[in-house]
Symmetry: C2
Subunit: 272 residues, 2 copies
């Protein structure tokens, strides 16, 4: 496909821009939809500005916690809020390990320092947390607590996994990432494959970002509607508009689709 071989960092960046530009992707920013404060160009700039952290992950030499922290620092200079934090949680181990089996080894070997670095990164984003459920990222004593409990970054993800499908990928061997990549391959080449894979994952499990923002009922309803779209019982564009109007954005599925695109590109998926 390409005259120059794609590096892992290239694949990660292409995955980020292909995900955000694919249309129509129900509820999320895409080439035809912005949210008032987070727009297409915030995602595109974030994909470009992440480069040094992605290259550092490819070179190795730093832990996943520090690399996720670095990716957040590289990309948090704009006014669009959190763009790719969830994606970095998946991409950094995938780049470090190369593929899913490699990434599974990376996440299994994280340290307490990784957890502390991750918490520092977390504090610099505007990621939605469930009050009372999570350690308070703005409380410096949280870091003391992580150290005193001896929690690794894997432990933190295990702790979050029941409520966060991105964290769950660390625990279950990147299962939805794998499914997403399979859906992309099955859908053929080009942008349409991204939309189909997105709908496929959305129909499979309730998006935990929607759960945090709107509660479980809305997330389950959204999943059901995605299933109806896939079965031809519901119009995709109307579903997209309804999600946008109600601020229902499946942000965690989007993160997993980015990881899935990274994998699919590495397996020879033809994006154009």
């Amino acid at each position: 496909m390409s005259m120059r071989t794609l590096t892992r960092a290239d694949r990660a960046q292409l995955a980020m821009v292909f995900e955000v530009s694919a249309y129509p992707k129900p509820g999320n920013v895409d080439r035809c939809h912005d949210y008032e404060t987070t727009r297409l160009e915030h995602f595109l700039a974030s994909a470009i500005l992440a480069r040094p952290a992605l290259e550092a992950a490819e070179r190795g030499g730093d832990g996943p916690g520090a690399l996720i922290h670095r990716a957040v620092e590289c990309t948090s200079g704009h006014r669009g809020g959190n763009t790719h934090f969830g994606a970095f949680i998946l991409l950094i181990p995938l780049i470090m390990g190369g593929d899913i089996p490699g990434a599974a080894k990376v996440v299994a070997n994280t340290s307490v320092d990784d957890a502390v670095e991750f918490y520092r990164a977390f504090g610099k984003t505007e990621v939605r947390v469930i009050q009372g459920h999570e350690l308070d990222v703005h409380d410096p004593s949280s870091i003391v607590e992580i150290r005193s409990r001896g929690m690794t970054l894997y432990d933190l993800m295990l702790y979050s996994a029941p409520r966060d499908m991105v964290a769950r990928e660390w625990i279950n061997g990147f299962e939805m990432t794998r499914r997403g990549a399979d859906l992309i391959h099955a859908a053929g080449c080009g942008q349409q494959a991204v939309v189909e894979a997105f709908l496929g994952l959305l129909a499979l499990e309730p998006d935990t970002f929607i759960v945090k923002k709107h509660g479980p009922e809305v997330a389950w309803k959204t999943m059901e509607k995605a299933r109806e779209v896939r079965e031809g019982l519901r119009d995709l564009q109307a579903f997209d508009q309804e999600c946008i109007d109600r601020g229902i954005n499946p942000g965690s599925i989007a993160d997993i689709i980015i990881a899935a695109l990274y994998i699919a590109l590495g397996e020879g998926w033809e994006w154009d």
Copy 2:
């Protein structure tokens, strides 16, 4: 604006993605319009894949001809045809020189080897040339002729300048690039500034890419219509649609807007 300082390569990449995503940009690919064979994602991928050539330009150590050649090689693996060839002709000396005065020195000091390398790059693109007017890029004797005439890359641009506004930038000290950057600054922050600057340049001079494709009359008419849009006498969206329907894409103005965005970002323009 950014927590990490933008490198010149960053600015060039941001310029490329901001240009292509700005909407509505009469006749060109933008976030809401593709052409059948050249789509938004081709431009986004091209911006990402150009990175090694842009970084090499920032490091120095190679001539502008070889660097333009490298940029074309990095980005010609997709099926979208020529995406950023004209932009690279401007960005490479701008990155090498840092700013417009620096770039003017770079272009004034090009060599015959630069011209040969440029010709090799040219042969790898699908850039529209006027039959009979230009040296035939597919004819290996052209390179022999460049050498025997002792033509530098600057000389080649001088030769093309009357018929090509991108080449003209090399000769006149990046005049339209400067105007474009001034228009961007005057229009304020955000994507709307890109559209306004684009219209401003389109209203200023006939796009030579349109001249080559449709003849001078269509190019002048397009310029006049852009002027009417700016004066509130013509609807922008309707003008955009008319251009798209007729395949009138001001590709050279787009290249110059990318260069202008590179300059504006270096002068502190706030893109969001």
